[in-house]
Amino acid sequence: MRLAMWIPIAALFASLPFLGLPKEMLPLLILILMFCALATSWNILAGYAGYISFGQAGFFGIGAYVTAMPLYYQGVNPFLMVPLAGVASASLAFVVGYPCLKLRGAYFAIVTMALAFILQLIVWNVPWTGGGVGLPLPILTASETFIEPIVAYYLAMLGVTLAALIVSQAVENSKFGYGLIAIRESEEVAESAGVPTLKFKILAFMLSTFFAGMVGGIWAPWVAYVQPIGAFPIFVSIYSVVMSVFGGIGTWIGPMLGAIIMTWLQQYLLTNVRIAGIDNIIFGAILILVVITMPNGVIAPVRKLVSSFGAIVRRVGSRKGSSD
């Protein structure tokens, strides 16, 4: 039933490039979708289970290299590798999950941050990943992607983003999600109430990194160049956090909202205000403002507005009903 509402949304967005949307809009849309997926997937672990990860960039980078290396060496179609990119990231999350998820709060944040750095440095030091120079990837042509490459990237990113949103929404309303929220509120109580905390945490970590890996996997052939600094961008980790907090963590819709608004704002600032660093200044100010005035993100007042509007509609409706 809930799944059904996604079909028209998916159809609408998928048909956008064929309905005469200017091609110049697509890179912006891909970027928005990319951060949507990253923030949403970050939120699965951080928002529900309360484990703030700063390693999203690490898993993004793994995904990027998993598609980039076969493309560079063997010319493998990157779109075939995208699911594998997600699986690779999730497998790593499974391996490191057990020691890392024993740590809480700031310790977990720091250990994930260090993890992203370690992955970046390993890629830097290993020769067959291209080292510090990186791998220049061949630019795909329409014959390889069946449609125009930029449209293909858009559709792929859209697919991953929608999948992340659907999964996030499903998690929020499932026993698994309630278990995660119980872990966030109090891990000891959750454990004693019979929630398999470790299993749930690792599963949430894997889900959250799975999508990050896939996003990275699409991103790499799109920019056609992978390099340790570019493929493990610290801003991916940071923006996932900032956008989710801005939108409202712990809700599936909040990170999406934050990603849309902030990505658009950033691109607007970068193109229209010609001062380097202006986007970071504004981002910082917005973050502080939101954290102080709306600790639950901008989604909270929006929800209040919607629910009070709904109440008014219902009241008007019931008055009509009673007068009849």
Binding site: I110, V111, N125, V242, A276, I281, G284, L287, P295
Partner: protein, 277 residues
């Protein structure tokens, strides 16, 4: 190197241990110290070591102002949530300061060039680069000074009491908010000196703070948060580990060692090597 690490890490360690605040903007303040030293030399020809007379008061006031801001805005935040809350606030500040530095000074690599940058002091057969020595002397002296003032002075005792139990310290008549401001300001002042030494040793640019802050977190976790002596020892351990890996392999593996060390320590002894179990 270890002394310099200690200089940079003690402020972070203090803020975390005393106030339960994770000051991710700490690296920003240090880089600000580097920039002040750089411009003091470029514009007025002031020696970097003398320029801390400008940067330290500046960063002290800045740190106090930041903490005052957090104090004022966090009154409604429950104590258990202060960690994440302060994290986000400092994150916002990091963004602002990073953006400002890029906007004003640009993202170019810079280095402080003085006459003694490349000189070394010889202790028997061991050659010590002078900038490293300056960092070590400042780091050791100041960390010890702060450590003993925490132990001996009245304010230091108040700081420790606040770290132990904020509510009881308040009940004892300690103005914990003021203690927070003091602690934060001192940490920022140390970071300013650390930043100056950093500028002498290596290149810097606004984004390098991300690289430093992770190393600093590694040190603080290694030594146990709030434990200054532990932080100092942690700095020395990390400094030695990084130097050894640089000697045996290449410099680019050194950070891998640092971070792997961090993860191992975190998973085995989350309270730090020297912390209570």
């Amino acid at each position: 190197m270890g002394g310099l690490y200690a200089l940079l890490a003690s402020g972070l360690s203090l803020a975390w241990g005393v106030m339960n605040e994770i000051n991710i903007a700490h690296g920003s303040i240090a880089i600000l110290g580097s920039y002040v030293a750089y411009w003091a030399l470029q514009l007025w020809g002031i020696d970097p070591v003398v320029s801390i007379a400008i940067s330290v008061p500046f960063c002290l006031v800045l740190g106090a102002a930041l903490q005052q801001f957090v104090n004022m805005t966090s009154t409604r935040i429950p104590q258990a949530k202060i960690e994440f809350y302060s994290y986000l606030i400092f994150f916002g500040m990091l963004f602002i300061s990073e953006g400002l530095m890029v906007a004003i000074w640009g993202g170019r690599f810079r280095a402080i060039r003085t006459a003694y940058n490349q000189t070394s002091v010889f202790l028997g057969p061991i050659a010590l680069p002078l900038p490293t020595l300056i960092g070590f002397v400042f780091g050791t002296a100041l960390t010890l000074a702060v450590y003993y003032s925490l132990k001996k002075t009245y304010t230091g005792m108040a700081v420790r009491a606040t770290a132990d139990d904020r509510e009881i310290a308040m009940a004892m008549g300690i103005n914990t908010h003021r203690i927070y401001v003091y602690t934060f300001a001192i940490g920022s002042g140390l970071a300013a000196i650390g930043g100056m030494c950093l500028g002498l040793l290596s290149i810097f640019y606004p984004d390098i703070q991300f690289y430093w802050i992770t190393r600093l977190f590694a040190i603080v976790v290694l030594g146990g948060m709030g434990n200054l002596l532990g932080t100092y020892l942690g700095s020395l351990i990390l400094g030695v580990a990084v130097s050894l890996t640089t000697v045996f392999t290449t410099a680019s593996w050194a950070d891998v060692v640092a971070y792997v060390m961090l993860i191992i320590v975190l998973t085995v002894r989350p309270k730090g090597l020297f912390g209570a179990r």
